[in-house]
């Protein structure tokens, strides 16, 4: 199974990843979540062989069987949509009718088949990310690595992008995507939460939710202290085992879970 085992990466003297393991089963979407600087992109780059690892192993298919969409979308800004497709297709050995029909299907699914002559730089953010996804999927890779494909994309385009991602997994690819949107991660088969280069929690979304120690509660007034956070109109807080929660206890969702886990980790004696 593709993935990484006990991966450690040092970048410029600091540990960017420390003992990270992730399995990428075929036909499943794995979401890597975490804040800025948590190590999400480094994990992708290590899987791609773009950063040197100082420990652990990486097991991925050969480059021609990997599809990759960088966070910058990987679209050539001064090439048109169809020229982008043609260039990437030929780099992966696709040409002629095979490339044309594959591209037509993908672009139509992504809803960008009506602008073949528009330059990459003239596409809206959402369209560019969708084109980037199509480029990564063009050669039907066994492993699809997507770096924040939905960041900066409007809600409607995010829904469409997610549809494309799940379709890719359904067709048998192992998909790994990084995201900062936890509602997206909740739809993945496996969630890997990274914090400061370490795995905070990993497993199915429900399993990850189950790992929260203590209680998550909801109240209408700010309870004070650094264990509370605001969501919409209500105030959520986390209380360790043995303490009285300030509000009504709830089953946490993924967002609450990750905040609670981060708080719990920060209160652990070092």
């Amino acid at each position: 199974m593709p993935g990484a085992r006990d991966l450690t990466v040092e970048l410029g003297g600091t540990t960017a990843l420390s003992g990270v393991s992730v399995d990428l089963p075929a036909g499943q979407v794995t979401a890597v979540v975490g804040g800025d600087g948590a190590g999400k992109t480094t994990l992708l780059r290590a899987l791609l062989g773009r950063v040197a690892t100082s420990g652990g192993t990486v097991d991925v298919p050969p480059p021609e069987r990997i599809g990759y969409e960088p966070s910058t979308s990987g679209v050539w800004p001064t090439l048109s949509v169809s020229e982008n497709v043609e260039f990437v297709g030929s780099a992966y050995g696709l040409s002629g009718d095979r490339l044309r029909s594959r591209a037509a299907t993908l672009l139509a699914t992504a809803g960008i088949d009506d602008v073949p002559d528009r330059l990459g730089r003239d596409l809206s953010g959402g369209m560019r990310q969708k084109l980037g996804f199509c480029l990564a999927m063009l050669h039907s890779p066994d492993l699809l690595l997507l770096d924040e494909p939905s960041t900066g994309v409007d809600p409607v385009s995010r829904v469409e992008l997610w549809r494309l991602v799940t379709a890719a997994a359904r067709d048998g690819a192992s998909v790994l995507m990084t995201t900062t949107y936890l509602d997206e991660a909740e739809r993945a088969a496996t969630v890997v939460a990274l914090q400061e280069g370490r795995v905070l929690a990993s497993g199915g979304p429900d399993d990850v939710v189950g790992t929260v120690p203590g209680t998550v509660s909801v109240g209408d007034a700010p309870p004070g202290g650094r264990r509370a956070w605001r969501r919409g109109r209500s105030f959520h807080s986390w209380t360790p085992d043995g303490e009285e929660p300030p509000g009504r206890p709830v089953v946490p969702d993924l967002e609450d879970t990750l905040i609670a886990l981060t708080l719990a980790r920060s209160e652990e004696p070092r």
Binding site: A46, L48, G49, R50, V51, A52, T53, S54, V58, V60, P62, P63, E64, I66, Y68, P70, S71, T72, S73, G74, V75, W76, P77, T78, V88, A91, Y92, G93
Partner: protein, 353 residues
């Protein structure tokens, strides 16, 4: 306002290249304009040939007027040599002027003939003044550029400048754009070998520069009547090698720049000394020795020597081998280092996989 000034200085301090430019540019300007900006060639290399060469040598050393614009450096006094040897020495840029005496001169009344190399514009101007001071005592002839046309000397040099421009600025921008857009990372993970990425990336610029070179050469010859007297093959080979050297500089700049702005900044910093110290504007012979040696380290200097030699004087391999060899050395060194660095940017990291 104080906060604004402090913020500006802080930002400036982090932009090392701009600071380097602020410090280096005035120094560079001072040195170049102080030591190099001199159009007057005050020492001329002279060959004296013909059977009266030795007498002429004595006469010259005694008779050169005190207010002559240049002193004469008699590099070759050979009574056995004739007019042809003198012309060869001029063609091969061994001397700036040649004096034909006795049987070598066909001027009437046994007067000596002074041959001046017109492709060396400022030396030729000094020589013309000197010849004029000698009046009727000598016959004179300016070779290669009889009317001392500036355009004839500039066009071969401009060809080099244009190649430098494309090779350095355009190439580095083209490569940095890929880094800026984040697509270099994309290329790196595609199943393309680093060699084919590098070759595919550089070839278009090489071809464009070749096209420009042919265009400018033809236009120069057509518009300004610049002669092309030498071997086209020698010129083409020299230009291609020179192109590798300047493309190498462009690629090298792209590997140390993150943005187009940075690349242009560095490229301009490499172009300015080439323009000023290559001998295309200020004659190398008129520069102070230290600055002249900086000129000899720049590829454009050698290309200007080659293109002026081949186009104007019809110089061949026997005298142009040195520029070709030096340019080859520079091309191998610069292009090699550049390609190694670029490959390192896109090759997989060691220890991975």
């Amino acid at each position: 306002m104080r906060a604004m000034i402090v913020k500006e200085f802080r930002e400036l301090r982090r932009d090392r290249r701009t600071v380097a430019m602020l410090v280096a540019l005035p120094l560079l300007m001072l040195v170049i304009f102080g030591y190099a900006a001199n159009f007057t060639v005050d020492e001329l290399r002279v060959a004296v040939v013909g059977d009266l060469a030795e007498q002429a040598e004595q006469q010259i050393t005694q008779q050169v007027p005190a207010d002559a614009p240049a002193t004469l450096d008699l590099v070759d006094v050979d009574p056995d040599a004739g007019a042809q040897q003198a012309r060869d020495a001029l063609r091969d840029d061994e001397v700036d002027l040649a004096i034909l005496t006795g049987d070598a001169s066909d001027a009437d009344g046994g007067r000596p003939t002074v041959l001046v190399d017109g492709s060396n514009l400022f030396a030729a101007q000094s020589a013309s003044v000197l010849v004029a001071q000698l009046g009727d005592r000598v016959e004179s002839e300016i070779l290669y550029n009889p009317d001392l046309e500036t355009s004839w000397v500039m066009v071969p040099a401009i060809i080099g400048l244009i190649l430098t421009f494309i090779g350095t600025i355009i190439t580095s921008i083209g490569l940095v754009r890929e880094r800026e857009a984040g697509t270099l990372e994309q290329l790196a993970v595609m199943p393309l070998s680093p060699t084919s990425v590098v070759t595919g990336k550089i070839s278009p610029y090489f071809l464009l520069a070749c096209f420009d070179m042919v265009l400018v050469t033809l236009l120069g010859v057509w518009l300004f009547g610049v002669p092309f007297r030498g071997s086209v093959l020698l010129f083409a080979i020299g230009a291609a090698i020179f192109l590798f050297a300047v493309l190498g500089i462009g690629v090298l700049i792209s590997t140390v720049s993150q943005t187009t702005g940075q690349a242009v900044q560095v490229a301009l910093m490499t172009m300015l000394p080439q323009i000023l110290l290559s001998g295309m504007i200020f004659p190398l012979d008129a520069m102070a020795a230290g600055v002249r040696w900086i000129g000899y380290l720049l590829p454009l200097t050698w290309f200007v020597k080659l293109s002026q030699g081949v186009m104007l004087r019809g110089a061949g391999w026997e005298s142009m081998w040195l520029p070709v060899v030096v340019l080859t050395g520079m091309a191998i060194l610069v292009f090699g280092v550049a390609v190694i660095r670029l490959r390192r940017d896109i090759a997989p990291a060691r220890g991975a996989r």
